[in-house]
Structure formats: C-alpha cells, structure tokens
Symmetry: C2
Subunit: 408 residues, 2 copies
C-alpha cells in the first residue's frame, strides 16, 4: 500500500450553551486539522490534531510543509523505521526554528504521525490497539524517536520494559472483556449554571459514571467552592471528583485556592497554573498532598515531560496524542512515564477516539494501571465510528484503524 497524495482538511464544529467552556478558553469551537493519506487502494490514513477553532488553518498549512516526503512511501516500509522518519520531520532544519517541538508545527506533526499509524493499522486490517500489541518490542521501539531522553531512558530500556511485560499480558487482557473505564468531563463546564451541573451529575451517575470533572478557576474562588460542594453533595462521598483550573491561577493563588478546594476531597487538581511552570507545579504538588496534581494537555513534548517527571511535579500524566508528536511521541512519553512511576491518564482532544486504543496498549503492553479515560461526547455525531460507552466503560473498538475517520 503506497501513499499517493496528501489531502488536508480544516474541520471546525460549533458548540452551544457553554459546552467546552473553561476558565481560560471561554468560547471554544472544537476543531481538527486533518491529515489524509490517500493511497493506491480504497484506504485513507486519517490523522488529527486538535484545536479550539482559531488558527486551525495555520496547522493545515504546516502539515503541507512537513509531510512532503511521505508521498510515494510504502506503508510497511515506512513504519519499519518510523523513528527515523519522525526525527527527520521533527528536526526539519529550518521549520524547527518555529518551535522546536512545540506550537503550530508540532501540532501539524501530530496530525501527520497519527495518519501514518492509522493507515498502518488499516493496511493490516486491525484496530490500532491490536496493531500495537502485535508488534515485537523492537518493532514498536523502531517507530519512536528517543533522542534527548538518553540521560534517563535508552532504547535498550524501552525494549526491556516492553519485553518484561510480555509474559503477563494475558492477565491484563481482562480489560478486553470489561471495556476501559471512563470518566465524565461534560458534567461541569465552566459556563454551566449550578442547576445544570446538578442535573448533569445525576444523569452521569445514572449512566454508571463514578468519576466526574468540574471546571474551576472562577475570578471569585467562592463560586468554585460552592460548585465543588454542589457536585460532591449530589454525587455522594464515594464518587471520584476532579477539579480543573485550566491554568487560570498563578502559583500563589493556586496554593491558596487548592487548600480550600481540599474540603470536597478532590481526586486531583488539574492544570493549577501555567503549563510551562514545572517548579510551580512541584511547589503546588508538595503543598496540597495528599491531593494530587494532574497536567499535560498543554505539554508539547517528551523533553518537558521528562523534566516534570524528574522534578516529581505531576502525579498524573495527561499527555494527548493530538498535542504531542502523535502516537509515536505518545508511546515514547508513556514508556518514559511508566519507567519513572507516573500513571498516564490522557487528555482527549480526540474525544477519546484514538486514546481508547492507546490506553489499552498502555495497560496490556506496558503494564500501566487501568485507571480511567476521559469521556467527552460532544462530537460523537461527526465521527464515522464514534467511541461506544456502555455502563461508563469504553467498549473495545473492532474496526480497523484508529477510529479517526470523520464524516464528510
């Protein structure tokens, strides 16, 4: 199967009634820069990068610049040494200046890389999670670029980590019959009224969810605290409740407000301050323990994740395959994360479509704990094969590819 041409799409979806709103991103669309690898067959590889609408066209243009060398490549041959292909793209000598490894050009790389893995799985007629499980440790690591990690994590360690977990895979394959547990982010968007949050919480619990997220970061902390109590009182003391400030606070504010939010016993505080502030996160994590800090949706690459892990500045790693350099860098960061003892709970800019595959591989292949995967339902009608949630569990995808196809 050969890549014949590349088509790029700018897909934006309007949201209504406060859906998707948070303290920082007040009026989002949900949007994808889409890389489509057309082949000599009926299959097309589809790769997504996620945005909030504005500027998606910049990523589309960058996809065009970064993907030129893929045309003419045979997919098995391409993926047999994809780490090299990846590193050529990510270190493109002049485009690299615009990052490196962050911002628009790195989002473009995400879409391109995701399209390659999608096509690979489609060409083998298996869902992405199965493709990854079918690869030998060496074959999988050949698709990664481990540069700049050598001081803490080498190619040999990556292969050993995968190999050491081969013999116990069967135990963890239980997840293929139970499905992967989900948590519900859509109960508590920032602009939702108190009444709507209560109503949504009840509906989520009725649908089997036991883990829910509330957006905080209000100008008036009392609003956050009132709403956090509301959701706790509605959901009961056994529910797992996460609060998410979406970077709104500076470190000083975060230290103050997080302590007061502690009274509702949150499972984690997400993005309590600026995503670049490693030392700030470390300070907050120390101060609010035993409450945990989660972050990662705005961390663009493996090097910054490495620093966060080294500094013990996050308790949960929320890497997102439509933010970092696609599935390749997602797997790199998941391996690194496992080796440094940090659980991966992805942020789902892809609405869980790709990540439902990736958490299965992380759990079965790397022995990452089966925690839960974020669930956001707002784009279901636009996907050809939307994720299926039954009793708050992601059902195991059976269609070939990475579930990224969008309806026309």
């Amino acid at each position: 199967m050969y890549i014949k041409s590349i088509e790029i799409k700018d897909k934006r979806f309007n949201l209504s009634d406060g859906i998707g709103s948070d303290a920082t991103h007040t009026t989002p669309q949900y949007a994808y820069a889409v890389c489509c690898l057309k082949t000599d067959t009926a299959e097309t590889g589809i790769g997504l990068a996620f945005t909030l609408g504005a500027g998606t066209d910049l990523i589309c243009k960058a996809i065009e610049y970064l993907s030129v060398d893929l045309v003419g490549r045979e997919i098995e041959e391409l993926m047999s040494d994809f780490g090299t292909v990846y590193s050529k793209m990510v270190d493109s000598p002049s485009l690299r200046w615009l990052g490196p490894h962050k911002g628009v050009i790195h989002l473009a790389l995400a879409a391109i890389v995701n399209s390659c893995y999608d096509l690979w799985a489609k060409s083998r007629n298996v869902p992405l999670w199965k493709l990854l499980l079918d690869l030998s440790p060496e074959e999988l690591v050949n698709t990664l670029d481990l540069s700049y990690l050598e001081d803490v994590f080498t190619r040999e360690q990556a292969i050993a980590l995968l190999r050491d977990n081969l013999s116990t895979r069967d135990m963890r394959k239980k997840v293929l019959s139970t499905g992967y547990k989900g948590y519900d982010t859509s109960v508590g968007w920032f602009n939702f009224s108190d009444e709507k949050i209560v109503e949504n919480t009840k509906r989520a619990m009725d649908n089997g969810f036991t883990a829910l997220k509330l957006k905080v970061g209000s100008n008036d902390p009392l609003r956050d605290i009132r709403r956090a109590n509301l959701i706790r009182n509605t959901a009961g003391c056994n529910a797992t409740i996460m609060v998410d400030a979406n970077q709104k606070w500076n470190v000083t504010q975060a230290l103050d407000i997080c302590k007061r939010l502690g009274e509702i016993n949150p499972f984690w505080i997400e993005e309590p301050t600026h995503p670049d502030d490693i030392i700030g996160h470390k300070t907050i994590a120390r101060a609010i323990a035993p409450f945990k800090v989660a972050t990662g949706e705005h961390i663009p690459n493996k090097i910054i994740f490495k620093n966060f892990f080294q500094a013990k500045a996050m308790d949960f790693c929320q890497v997102d395959t439509v933010r970092v350099g696609g599935i390749s860098e997602f797997l790199t960061i998941s391996l690194l994360s496992k080796s440094m003892g940090i659980p991966v709970v992805p942020h789902v800019g892809d609405m869980g479509q790709i990540h439902q595959h990736l958490v299965l591989f992380n759990h079965i292949g790397m022995n990452h704990e089966h925690l839960f995967l974020e669930h956001i339902p707002h784009l279901k009608q636009y996907f050809v094969n939307p994720a299926v949630i039954v009793d708050a569990h992601y059902q195991i995808p059976q269609v070939s590819g990475s579930s990224s196809d969008l309806k026309d």
Copy 2:
C-alpha cells in the same frame, strides 16, 4: 497618531557559502515576519519576528489574527496601558490553544509588540533606548504583563528595581560615549572551513573584537576540538571565546564533550542540549563549572525563564526580543533576570538592530552589567539604518524608533 491599518510582510534573505549554518540549522535563510502599523501620519511602526525562512508565512497569517484590535488605537493611549493590551493578545482564548505562549503564535506576537514600541518611539521622535529611559518606572511597568511571575516577582518589585537604579544612572551613561561592546559570531559558522575560520578570526581581531564565537556540535567531537584549538591559537589566550552547540547534544554527550572543550578555556557553552531541558542544563552547568552555560534563543516566554533562573540552570540569559513576546516580554525577562542575579546577553535574531537599544536600557535603567552584544553583519544592506560598529563597539543609535525599518 492613530493606527489606521496593518500591513504584513514576509521578507526572506538568502545566505551563501555556509553563512548562518550551525550543527542543527544546516541550510538557513534569514527571514522576518514584519508587522507594519500604518498611521494617519507618514510614520509606520515596524516590528520583526525572526525565522530561518521556512514557515514565515505562518507567522504572517498569525499576525493578522492577533493584531485586529490595534486598528483605530491612538499610540500614546495604547502604550499607556500596554500590559493589558499585551495580555489580551497573549491570552486570546482560542488562539492560545496553539501555544500557549510559544511557537508560531508567540512569534507573531513578537512582531506585533515590537511594532507598537517602534511606533511609540517614532511618534515621540526619539530612539527606542531614549524612549525607555524617559519613562517613569510606573509608565514602563504599565507596558508589561507580569502574570504567572507573582511567586517570585511582583509589579511592586519591578517598579522598585527601576526606581532604586534611577539615582545612579548618570554613572552608567558613560556607555553613551563609549558605545556598547560587541562580540563577533560570524567568524566560526559551522560549515566554514578551518582556513576560513583562521582568516575570519584574524580579521575580527584586527577590527578590534576580543570576543568571538565558534559553532560546535559536529558528529565527530574531534572536529569541534580541533577547530576550538585553532581559534584559540589564532586569537591568543586573552581572547574571549564562546562555543555554541545549538542544541545538538543530549545531556550525556554534552557532559562528555564539554569537559574536553574545556581545554581551550571557553567563556561559555551555548545551548549544550535541548532548550526545553531545564534539568539537563542544570546538570551540565554543575558539571562543567567554572565554565558557564548560556541559553535562551529558543526559550519562548518568561515562565520558562523563571524556571531556568530558579533552578540555576543558566549562567547567561540570551533572551531574544524577536522570539519572546517582543520588547514587552524582553523587558519583563530582563527585570526578572536582574532580580534573580542573572546577566542578560541577548541572542540577536534582529541582527542587533533592536537589541542595541535594549542593552543600553538594561544597563542604564536596570543596572545590568555592560558585557557585550552579539554582532552578526549579514543583513546590514537590507536595513534602512543598520547598526554601526566602530572598533568592535555598537555606536549609539540616534534615529527615532527601534532601527527595524527594512528597505523595500
């Protein structure tokens, strides 16, 4: 003076014969995304963001998106509270997703912000350095956005730092008669032959330069060491020689090679590894002392600089006003840097045109040490008022504005 419209230009300049090459950026152009603020007068505010050519159009498009609210604004009124204007642009709720505060959208912000200060200086008919010196501490700090720094540096501390250095300014105004010392980066580009490096070194010394830079980061470290010895032997033991790896090494390699480069007694090692690796830089700085670590040309914002300073991971701060959010964020980082005891020695993506003003203000207004400013001559013929170097010293610019005007 009102901003009537905004014109955006994509200017790329070819380089020849290995000029501009380094271990990572092998075939650069030098290029600017240019933001032009047209007014109701003959004056135009010009702001630059620097790239290596590829993708400059992406920044131009982002300038268009980020700058819309500037049309119709009066320049004195705009700059009287520019910190608020800046924070509205930098935290634009949906475009922010593409960073935040890094990559293409932040480079676009650099061009926009630089154009506002340029127009402000032109409207007052003074060179930028004099505009900045003429502002009261409060007026200057009103042009800054100090958010996310409050845990280490507040608005009150910024004002106090400037105020405390008012009474001793006259002493430091000596620099206005001597000029600001330069150092020569163009002797040792990566692709230059050994012969050319020797010849350039001799010429630079003849022209009064006593500080020179060599590009290292070769696949074969012996090449780096040979060339470092060559330049040391040619320049003599009193010359100040900096070596610059342009991010080529991982931490393990850097530790090894930096020790071997120590034999030529370098003044600093620049970008020894990936610019995002704060802990890596800290490790290297500890290991190679008394040799110093310089970095910053790829650090996009104040928050990451804050972390570098907190971790004592750099000895010299090479912030670049055409990489961070323009002159506003440059000044913020310079204040923070001063308060945390780190000297600022800018990287000059602007070829020193804007930075020749900024180092004067940093020295006279903030009491930053008068070290030296990078000098790169390759775009001289394209600027309307190119920096003038006499006996290796930048002469004090007298024309109004920030010296950013490019010939048509």
